[in-house]
Symmetry: C2
Subunit: 420 residues, 2 copies
């Protein structure tokens, strides 16, 4: 791997703590992914992209900015990438997945908020995040209390995601999307034309379609890709250059097709088919997926923000005018079934659909600690699943490794119960 010390120094990154972070990410990656015996060969590309998230990807964005290009930090799949891309702005998802960074946030934030937020700010405050100086500003949203108030505390821009899905709420959201467009145009000095927006809509849909295609293979009785590797692909999707990602993901999809034809399965044993539900698993974190699959379960679907929630819905490509396109973008994002909504029947419907389509035998609700919305909603979903005869397991956890043994015991018992 190339040495990026000079670049990191130019970005005011603390080299010593960055080295510790990289070491911790390397170890996590090795532990989580590399034990798997029958990975697609092309997963090596995604392993590399994961490592390059602190190297080549940083250099790419640095170069983009050196040429006068702009970039923003984002933390949620509600920020409409299409609009940023149409203005030539690179959106950089910055949700922290590093356990190493968490305690650093204790100086500025309460301890009892979710590890994702703490990791994000821990990376920043410890001078370890190479993207800190690689963005013009950060754009947060109002999907949960802790994020919303943390964005305020640090003066981020905030998009309001409403809490109901009535027509007045759709208007609020549409106004936010329009404001985001203005924000991107003002930042870049680029006027977003119908042509540019149509292009970025197609590009983002293209990215979603290839992720959908990979997910389709997981419906098979013998999936050619594991849930762990599908997660890694999704995680990389949020960091890598979009065109490079689409190319790699297409190549992977072809390999998966080939593996299906030649009967190469990702799993040695036909363990229970599991849906992973709940909180997201940002790059650097895959603890619950790892424990589950190394305990013999097969995660054939993941409905989280680092799973199908990211790529399920497409933007309607039929509009020619700017207003129509912007409305189509707003509609697409407003349809996301985040647990921030009241009520959120859409999510239950989507989960039931996944259960049928992917022949799910059990659901693991992965709840990042203090994520109240997914945690409480898990209880409603558990109740509905019970009626359908699908067992649920709710796991509350954080990024630390301390509870791994205990979680493994619970997951093994869950696997055994389903197996019976």
């Amino acid at each position: 791997m190339k040495d990026y010390k000079n670049l990191l120094t130019a970005l005011e990154v603390n080299l010593e703590s960055h080295e510790r972070l990289e070491e911790s990410l390397r170890r996590a990656h090795e532990q989580y992914f590399l034990w798997q015996a029958a990975r697609p060969q092309l997963m090596a590309r995604f392993d590399a992209s994961c490592h390059e998230s602190h190297g080549a990807r940083v250099a790419e964005i640095f170069e983009h900015r050196q040429k006068g290009g702009k970039s923003i930090g984002t933390f949620c799949i509600y920020v409409p990438d299409e609009i940023a891309i149409a203005a030539g702005v690179i959106p950089i998802p910055l949700c922290g997945g590093s356990a190493w960074a968490i305690t650093h946030a204790d100086k500025i934030l309460p301890r009892d908020i979710c590890p994702l937020i703490r990791s994000t700010f821990g990376m920043s405050i410890s001078g370890t995040c190479p993207y800190k100086k690689l963005k013009d500003f950060a754009v947060g949203e109002t999907t949960c209390d802790a994020k919303k108030k943390a964005w305020d505390l640090f003066g981020f821009k905030v998009l309001e995601v409403p809490q109901k899905k009535k027509s007045a709420d759709a208007s609020v959201w549409f106004a936010e999307v329009i404001e985001f467009k203005t924000m991107m145009e003002e930042l870049s000095g680029v006027s977003i034309t119908p042509l540019k927006l149509a292009e970025s809509i197609r590009l983002m849909n293209h990215k979603r379609r290839v992720l959908q295609r990979i997910s389709e293979y997981q419906k098979l009785p013998e999936p050619p890709i594991s849930g762990l590797d599908a997660l890694l692909v999704s995680q990389v999707a949020l960091n890598q250059d979009i065109n490079a990602f689409i190319a790699d993901a297409h190549a992977l999809a072809y390999e998966l097709q080939h593996r299906v034809q030649t009967g190469e399965a990702a799993y040695k044993k036909r363990g229970p088919r599991i849906l992973m539900a709940g909180s997201s698993s940002p790059l650097g974190y895959a603890k619950i997926h790892y424990i589950a699959e190394s305990s013999g379960l097969r995660i054939v679907a993941d409905e989280s923000c680092t799973g199908s929630r990211y790529f399920r819905n497409l933007v309607d490509e039929s509009h020619q005018d700017l207003d129509g396109m912007l409305k189509a973008i707003a509609d697409r994002y407003f349809a996301i079934d985040c647990s921030c909504f009241s009520p959120n029947t859409e999510r239950l419907d989507n989960i039931m659909k996944i259960i049928d389509e992917f022949q799910i035998q059990g659901v693991i609700h992965h709840i990042l600690q203090y994520c109240h919305t997914y945690n409480i909603e898990a209880r409603a979903i558990e109740r509905a699943l019970k009626k359908k005869g699908i067992p649920s397991l709710i796991i509350e956890t954080d990024y630390s490794s301390e509870d791994e043994g205990q979680i493994r015991t619970r997951i093994e018992a869950f696997a055994e119960m389903i197996g019976k």
Copy 2:
């Protein structure tokens, strides 16, 4: 005190656990309030109203319902009482303040959500809440993640409080207020006329004005009422019959005026003047106020929902038509400076105003555990206060008594620091 066993039995209350609850509330009341040496005589009425919240008040609402009257459960000062009252519906604030009830909620809700919500549902699930069968339905709101999702889980009606204060948000909120009006009319079968609504607007404003008047006396160098007793008055305001409350509060205000004239102060010593900020303290809970005042601090202002946030703003009484009145109601509630808003500069402005008007020397941020919005916002306020030379103390706590010693030590150190 009258015996309400038959009534409670009719309301399907578990008498045994209700007796344990009442004993716990009695002990808490005694510990928190009765140690004070120089209370206004009329506080005896509020002590009695506090005890009658599980007796005479229950009987009153029972009688109202026997006559065909309706009542609803509420949990937040965003539910517009004026509208319920105009339809003849009694709104019953049900936020739990009992430590005893908390663990009962563990069967149905995560443990790491705030004690207020857990206490509320603990009361209900343990069959201890006499109001459970005394309401037609419950009306929640979206002011925090845990409340919002808990209302959904148990099928409550939910009013959407938006997360920003832009004009589109004001429209969302106005639509919710109109929907609440329809809800109240449908429930009661009563059509809300301009005359009825004007009357309930005046009544609620009247209630707020008398609370404002009591609070005014706390501005004096020697307040005639303690922060603890002012809290008790506010807590009772949320339970007692509105007309009875206004009468008692007016009588108290006259006594306070008399005490000022005769030089009867509530405190023996001139301890530092404190603003209590942050989470609310529902009836049954006054732990931080108690520790602070029994440690020599004087809480002369409380900006929480069980403090001035409840009575600060009045509804504009100048409108004659229904639409104008409903808009005035919506505006009044939309101006509330809850920490659920992003940004929430209004709250900081209000706190700065209180600091000047009440000559505040220090601020205690009382944060109920896992209340992310007040917890994170406390850090922003602390920063602003520091610039003004006002020290802050952030206390995260729950309803248990386990941390009382530790909190007392911190508060005493805070008092000493201000005294210097």
